[in-house]
């Protein structure tokens, strides 16, 4: 590094010190990498790597959020599914009572009274099922703040809002069921129909034929809603799986960018240590001898 022919002890010592310092700096950098396990400890270590790492971290967080949303959505849909399945059972039983009532004819009033009572109880159970809650919210009530979707008389007490969950980038899945398309509205609503069935069993068995058609329509409505819920559930499951795979990929990418390659770093550390020892040895050999050793 010297530019002239003249070398002094001082300049030799300075050059040696500089060399040793440079060695120690490299050792220090390698040690920082190994002890933190990260290649990038600050943005200046690799500016492009930092941008990529920050981007990946942001994406990972979003995926975590989507996963939470998906799990929550699946819980909702499960609740709706079991409520609808149970409801369909009860509607089927109600239909049987109505059928029995029609075939019994106008002969046995007490029998039809019993059937009407059965239908009333089934109607009450169905209203109870329609008020199923998930996490304190009625699943058929839309976004109502109340605690029930239907009141005791079977009138709709919720609102028309939707409950959506973001399950992916730009993908929102509806996780509740609208009461209007599940139970119907107006005089063809399921509870209105069942109330009508109960009345007709007691007073007007001839109208039961029409009532049976109405029950069938309501039953089909429930069925179609059930299959829709199933489809949405499948969609959530698929989105959840895709999210999990993407999360694993992103974690691997993040590790590639950020984490230190341990075998490589350890080898470099050992090489650097050897280089440092060699530098120390050379320094000892060069600095010590001088003319004074040889003068008498």
């Amino acid at each position: 590094m010297l530019t002239s022919m003249r070398v002094t002890e001082r300049s030799l010592a300075d050059a040696t010190m500089r060399g040793l310092q440079a060695n120690l700096n490299r050792l220090g950098a390698l040690q920082e990498q190994l002890s933190s396990g990260r290649m990038i400890s600050r943005p200046s270590d690799s500016p492009t790597g930092t941008i990529v790492a920050m981007q990946i971290r942001g994406d990972l967080r979003q995926l975590q959020q989507y996963s939470r949303n998906t799990d929550d959505g699946k819980g909702w849909l499960n609740t709706v599914d079991s409520a609808l399945t149970a409801s369909m059972e009860l509607v089927h039983r109600a239909r049987e009572q109505a059928l029995t009532g029609r075939s019994t004819g106008s002969s046995d009033q007490t029998a039809r009274e019993a059937l009407a009572g059965e239908v009333d109880r089934l109607r009450e159970s169905l209203i109870g099922l329609a008020n199923t809650k998930y996490l304190d919210r009625p699943v058929f009530g839309g976004t109502t703040t109340g605690s029930t979707a239907f009141d005791q008389n079977g009138n709709y007490a919720g609102d028309t809002g939707q409950v959506l969950r973001s399950a992916g980038a730009g993908i929102k899945v509806r996780v509740d069921s609208p009461a209007a398309s599940t139970y119907g509205t107006g005089p063809t609503q399921l509870f209105a129909v069942l109330a009508q069935v109960s009345t007709d069993l007691r007073t007007n068995p001839a109208a039961l034929g029409n009532d049976l058609d109405l029950i069938d329509t309501a039953s089909k409505l429930l069925q179609s809603q059930l299959s829709d819920v199933g489809a949405r559930y499948n969609q959530l499951v698929q989105l959840g799986q895709a999210g999990t795979e993407r999360t694993d990929q992103l974690r691997a990418s993040l590790s590639d960018v950020e984490d230190v390659d341990l075998p490589k770093a350890i080898m470099e550390l050992q090489l650097q240590q050897v280089a440092y020892q060699v530098a120390l040895g050379a320094a000892a050999r060069v600095i010590q001898p001088s003319l004074q050793d040889f003068l008498r």
């Binding site: 070398v7 600050r42 943005p43 200046s44 942001g58 839309g142 609102d159």
Partner: protein, 457 residues
């Protein structure tokens, strides 16, 4: 014809000269490790007889011996000047390197403790409120997380503020150092001029003075100008800091806190004229630059991020409805990083719904969570800021490393000319010792010759 004793006097001059030269070698050896010492050399000049031609009193003998004409100080002014400028650049870049290292620590990215993680947690909390708008606990968690994010911005602003104040204090200390060094140089100038006027050796004083000039170059990038009388003038960007025996002082003016920097910028002035001082390079120049440009720039960027965040969140919040169905009010108050706070304390006032009237709709909270990828939003702006900081810091680090090796080369050049080589001094000592012995021998030989002559008569 020469006198009988001319040989003796010649030998005497040799004895004296060799002894003085040995003293110079001793001085060099004694100061071999003194920083800033330039080696001295005894300039031996042979004495001739009278060189004036004459007819009757011509001198036909050999010369009259040797004399130490001067004890010269070996120093290369050109190498010195190069050393000054390289040291100045090195001082500047080292300070920049340190400053940017501190800025990076303040940012602490990439990682899980930085602002990006806080922002991501906040958007996640909004998403949770969107999923469960009726739950007060979730809303409270959102308010807490938003407060943490605002705190994060506050603390980074405070960190920059503290950095500014500490650097301002450093600037004052360095300026005092510059003034004190200038005064010392003026004092030494006076001593050197007096000594060289009287013909007395002033080499050690000159060495001390040159060390101080180097220190000034390191601090301010000052240039040294040698005068004919032996004094050194120190110039700062063309204006004289030290002129012969007079020194001019610098003062620091301007704001003491980061918030006042824009209205009252920090500056360095000449105390006597009030004009701004121009510092070409050096540590003080870098400190001043960081106070007037670098720290305020990053503070402004941080303020912009806080303003963008507050603006986008407040706009989206105003478009939603809270638990009781009324439209949302401002969510954040303040539009600078130091002043941003969460304005809402009641969790029911968080506008999560996108439809008016009391409902458990979470649409607005969902839309709020989508602000994470808003183009030009807080997250993206912050990421760009971190990336830019990383690029600049990497570049400064690299320049500082390159400059360090340049400075080392320049310093080595100076040391090569002015440094003491013990081997060389040892050899010189041998030389002068033998010369002394030989001259002593001449004395004893002439003495015995004269003795023969005297005893003969």
């Amino acid at each position: 014809m020469a006198s009988n004793f001319s040989g003796l006097s010649t030998a005497l001059t040799a004895l004296t000269a060799n002894r003085r030269a040995l003293d110079v070698a001793a001085q060099n050896i004694a100061n071999a490790n003194t920083p800033g010492y330039s080696r001295q050399r005894a300039d031996l000049v042979s004495l001739g007889g009278t060189a004036v031609p004459a007819l009757w009193s011509a001198y036909r003998g050999p010369g009259d011996g040797v004399m130490v004409a001067d004890i010269s100080r070996l120093r290369d002014a050109f190498l010195d000047a190069r050393n000054h400028s390289e040291r100045a650049a090195s001082g500047y870049l080292n300070n920049e390197h340190q400053l940017y290292g501190q800025l990076e620590q303040l940012v602490s990215e990439p990682g899980d403790q930085g602002l990006q993680a806080q922002l991501a947690d906040m958007w996640g909390a909004w998403e949770d409120v969107g999923n469960n708008p009726g739950d007060l606990a979730t809303r409270n968690a959102l308010l807490r997380q938003a407060a943490t994010t605002a705190n994060s911005l506050n603390s980074r602003h405070n960190g920059l503020d503290t950095l500014f104040t500490a650097t301002r204090d450093q600037l004052e200390a360095l300026t005092a150092d510059v003034n004190a060094t200038g005064a010392q140089i003026a004092h030494l100038n006076q001593a050197v001029v007096r000594a060289s006027g009287a013909g007395v050796s002033a080499n050690e004083l000159a060495d001390q003075r040159d060390q101080l000039v180097l220190h000034l170059a390191d601090l301010t990038g000052a240039r040294a100008l040698r005068q004919d009388n032996g004094a050194v003038d120190v110039l700062l960007g063309g204006a004289a800091l030290v002129s012969g025996q007079t020194v001019r002082n610098l003062t620091v003016t301007g704001a003491r806190a980061l918030d006042n920097q824009a209205s009252s910028p920090v500056g360095l002035q000449w105390q006597d004229t009030g004009t701004p001082a121009i510092l070409p390079s050096g540590q003080v120049s870098s400190v001043l630059h960081s106070l007037t440009t670098t720290v305020p720039y990053y503070s402004a960027q941080l303020d912009q991020i806080a303003a963008t965040l507050a603006n986008s969140v407040n706009t989206q919040h105003g478009a939603g409805y809270d638990l009781s169905g009324t439209a949302g009010g401002p969510f954040f108050t303040g539009s600078t990083a130091g002043a941003i706070r969460v304005a809402i304390t009641d969790p029911a006032l968080v506008a999560a719904a996108s439809t008016p009237g009391a409902s458990r709709d979470g649409g607005n909270a969902d839309a709020m969570a989508g602000l994470v990828s808003l183009p030009g939003g807080a997250d993206l702006t912050y990421r760009q800021l971190v990336a830019n900081l990383g690029v600049i810091t990497a570049s400064v680090n690299q320049r500082a490393a390159v400059q360090a090796s340049l400075s080392e080369t320049a310093a080595a050049g100076v040391a090569a000319v002015s440094g003491v080589s013990l081997d060389e001094e040892m050899t010189n000592m041998l030389m002068y010792q033998r010369g002394y012995e030989a001259a002593a021998r001449v004395v004893s030989t002439v003495d015995s010759m004269l003795g023969t002559l005297i005893n003969m008569i």
